[in-house]
């Protein structure tokens, strides 16, 4: 039975690079669309806060 030739010439082998871990900051409260824009949280501006809704709060 034919087999694939698993050997490779040295010059075509990729040089091993140790994996590196990078951290990228994510603001979870923004990413999950859970909040409205206030002084302390991010979110889109909701112009009309007179209608009871997710973005209604006293003083918003």
């Amino acid at each position: 039975m034919e087999q694939r030739d698993e050997t490779q010439p040295e010059e075509t082998k990729k040089q091993y690079r140790k994996p590196e871990l990078f951290r990228f900051p994510l603001r979870a409260e923004e990413a999950v669309l859970g909040f409205c824009k206030t002084a302390s949280t991010g979110g889109p501006n909701v112009g009309n806060c007179a209608i009871p809704s997710a973005c209604f709060s006293q003083g918003s």
Partner: protein, 292 residues
């Protein structure tokens, strides 16, 4: 029936009986005449919302939670203003082709105009549809320069999107949104679409433009731009995007799209100091990007 077209996603809204359906605010600009194809049909109604029977699939930690219900999903929206029963509950089939939004009638006046997709349901629905049709919503300002070319300025809140938008407006550019942009493939190229979800400047246009480049905004003491290569560019955009994290297949689709996007469109870090020089600097930077 009311039809909305946001980012090329077409949503049909209708209501039962005397339900006071109304499209409000910037979303009015995205109302269209009857389209050829509809991505999602939604019916709004009054009802008595019952609490979901089991634990949520995902809890946003804010106003909404999502539950598995049959083959589809149920999104419940709470506000401390009302109480423990969700003030609104939205059910969708597995393909997000049909949905029903129920408002808990004891919480509302019967003639009080209501927009069934009021935030965050509109964006949740958009991200779910993009996960199935291709594309992504980015936390970015979308600018169309006077030559018709589109540029995105992506940042988390407070990163300078609205500031940048105002600079471009003063220089003759157009702003598709100063906070949220939908990016999709169209006719073999990448386009950016305005959305009704704006920032403090309330800039929002129902239009689109070819996307030529993406800037990742940073505050700085001077203007400087540096190319960002893959896979860093993909990771950076992911932190400035809204993939539906509770839906595995949609997250896979979002990552695949971002991979294609960062291959097709240059991404640059931009440190900027907002002044009269900023737009001229960016036009030089953009011209350099276009030459490559």
């Amino acid at each position: 029936m009311i039809h909305l077209s946001i980012g090329g996603l077409v949503i049909a809204l209708e209501a039962d009986g005397a339900f006071p359906l109304e499209v409000t605010g910037a979303t009015r600009r995205f109302v269209v005449e009857e389209p050829a194809a509809i991505d999602c049909r939604i019916r709004a109604r009054w009802g008595a919302v019952e609490p979901a029977p089991g634990p949520p699939r995902f809890d946003s930690g804010g106003v909404w939670k999502v539950y598995d219900e049959g083959d589809g999903l149920r999104f419940d929206f709470h506000s401390a203003t009302f109480g423990t029963i969700p003030y609104k509950s939205a059910r969708f089939d597995a393909g997000f082709q049909r949905g029903e939004v129920t408002f808990h009638s004891p919480y509302f006046q019967p003639d009080q105009p209501l927009y069934p997709l009021e935030y965050p349901l509109d964006e949740i629905l958009a991200t779910q549809l993009l996960g199935r049709t291709g594309g992504i919503e980015l936390h970015a300002a979308g600018i169309v320069d006077t030559d018709g070319e589109g540029w995105l300025f992506a940042a988390q809140s407070g990163g300078g999107k609205t500031t940048m938008s105002r600079l471009w407006l003063a220089a003759g550019g157009a702003v598709l949104s100063d906070d949220r942009i939908i990016v999709r493939e169209s006719g073999g190229s990448i386009r950016m679409f305005g959305t009704p979800w704006h920032g403090e400047a309330e800039l929002s246009v129902a239009s689109s433009a070819p996307l030529r480049g993406i800037f990742l905004l940073h505050h700085g003491s001077e203007n400087r731009c540096v190319r960002v290569v893959a896979p860093t560019s993909l990771a950076e955009l992911l932190t400035r995007a809204f993939p539906p994290l509770w839906d595995r297949s949609s997250v896979d689709a979002a990552l695949a799209f971002l991979d294609r996007l960062t291959e097709a469109v240059p991404v640059l870090d931009l440190w900027f100091h907002p002044d009269q020089e900023t737009v001229a600097f960016l036009r030089e930077c953009s011209a350099e990007v276009s030459r490559r």
